[in-house]
């Protein structure tokens, strides 16, 4: 029974970390209609910067701030490629992600880095150890959610929504489309890099390939979130939790580990079909 509780706690904690990436993808893909693959690279660079700072003995909170800054820079790079050099948005994200792979290795110094226990964020906060991870990650996750919700209610956020559905309107209003796009990409990648830094602190380990699949995870999380609600809210966090929850189910069922990804794919299809069925049901009423 205790094992199950611990397992559920782990699933929730991972979900909280990845919810930042899901929020980032929500901002770029859903709000400004820019499919940004940079999240894959900024998750890695965030982790690499956190690992590097930990090795240099920086305060973990300062390390997280540096990680966020690295993500913001990655977002700006993608934005400049896409808007100033007119390179396709998807390609711009791929280019920056490819570059960040090398940058991450240089920053971390090695493809695998272990974080010293005394430099770990979760050991430096005055909360009982068995609770601190959960409390910190839940606070960051809900904090990011409320920040983005507030942001979208402001003039800036309204311009982002308008940019997503009709960029011409922003031009008509005399606003700078490039500026709003680059600002959104920096916020999204800053959040993603923060998630990368939290992940490295959570696992006490940085791996150069640890970021692979981040974008797919976030997209899956976003799709799961839409099962609960189309709007930005707690559904985003639930969506981010759904993916590791599926992992947990496959582990609990003691299925062949080689089949894990296939079973997750089937479970995803089932959930999406359930969503479509429930939408039809609502429409028929």
């Amino acid at each position: 029974m205790l094992d199950i509780i611990e397992l559920c706690k782990g699933v929730l904690e991972l979900g909280f970390i990845y919810s930042l990436v899901v929020i980032a993808v929500f901002l770029t893909s859903k709000i400004i209609s820019f499919d940004d693959l940079t999240v894959e690279g900024s998750f890695g660079i965030g982790g690499a910067v956190a690992a590097c700072c930990a090795l240099w003995g920086f305060n973990p909170l300062v390390a997280i701030l540096f990680s966020i800054m690295s993500g913001i820079l990655a977002g700006i790079a993608t934005g400049l490629l896409a808007r100033k050099l007119n390179i396709n948005g998807l390609i711009s994200g791929l280019i920056v992600t490819t570059a960040l792979f090398s940058v991450s290795k240089k920053v971390a110094g090695s493809a695998m880095v272990t974080i010293p226990a005394d430099a770990n964020l979760f050991n430096c906060v005055g909360i009982p150890t068995h609770l601190n991870k959960f409390i910190i990650l839940a606070s960051v996750s809900f904090g990011a959610l409320f920040f983005v919700k507030w942001l979208l209610r402001t003039e800036f956020g309204s311009m982002l929504k308008a940019l997503g559905c009709n960029p011409q309107l922003l031009t008509n209003l005399g606003k700078n489309i490039n500026g709003y796009t680059i600002a959104t990409l920096s916020i999204a990648n800053g959040l993603t890099a923060c998630a990368g830094a939290l992940f490295v602190n959570y696992t006490s380990f940085f791996s150069l390939t640890g970021n692979i699949g981040t974008f797919i995870y976030a997209l899956a999380g976003l799709m799961f979130a839409e099962i609960f609600s189309d709007k930005l809210g707690v559904a985003i966090i639930l969506g981010a939790i759904a993916y590791p929850a599926l992992y947990m189910i496959t582990i609990q069922l003691q299925l062949d580990p080689d089949l894990t990804k296939l079973i997750i794919a089937l479970l995803m299809v089932t959930m999406l079909l359930f969503k479509r069925k429930s939408i039809k049901h609502v429409a028929m009423r």
Binding site: E155, K161, C165, N166, L169, T171, L173, G174
Partner: protein, 254 residues
Amino acid sequence: MVRVDSITVDFDGVSALSNISTVVNNGDFVVVVGPSGSGKTTLFDVISGTVNPSQGSIFLDDIDITDVSEKKRACHIGRLFQNTHLSSAPCMTVAENLALAMCKDKRIGVHSLMCAYKKEVSELINNIIRPIIPNIDELLDCPIGRISGGQRQIISFVMATLKPPRLLLLDEPTAALDPQSATKLLLFAQEFIAKKKITTMLITHDPHLALSIGNKLLVLDKGVIKSEFGQDKRNISPDNLIGQIDYQAIAKNF
């Protein structure tokens, strides 16, 4: 005053406008007619800054704006498109769209957009929109993309003229509307433009409309100004104008 001075536009060797020159004085209402492909929308694109001319200059109140960006020109030039979705944000509500238009020359910083402009939106609705759209209250929370084309175009017109522009470009605003909605929009727009004395250019394919409104008529054909009429346009009959436009020659090509 807007002065279009010897404007030429080439798209990959194909000439869209050839050496066009015209003057629109303050308070003028110029109607632009011509067959499809005659360069009407390209002329508007050049004036609003969407397209850069290959040659020539554009002056707004004697200031050369040829190299001024579309974004900066938008502060002085309002534009309403034929496609009703281009002048508003279809995924946002009617109220949000109206509040967005209020941000054109103001900054509200970190405050909620809807809270900041609640009073202004309410005044705008009571004074201008409700007389023309009586059920506006029911529509305020609907995404603007889901209301009827006529209502959407009226709201887009209000958005474009919220801060009266120095030049208003109406690019076939009634083309996608049914006759009833088109008449409603035109009556409203005409009254509003006359009241605020906004310098306006209107593109239309309707010869009756072209002759019934405005004080100047510009007939474009194959990228050149075929003829230009002032007050003497009253002497032209719709059939005469159709002859000027040479729709038959166009029809033969199809």
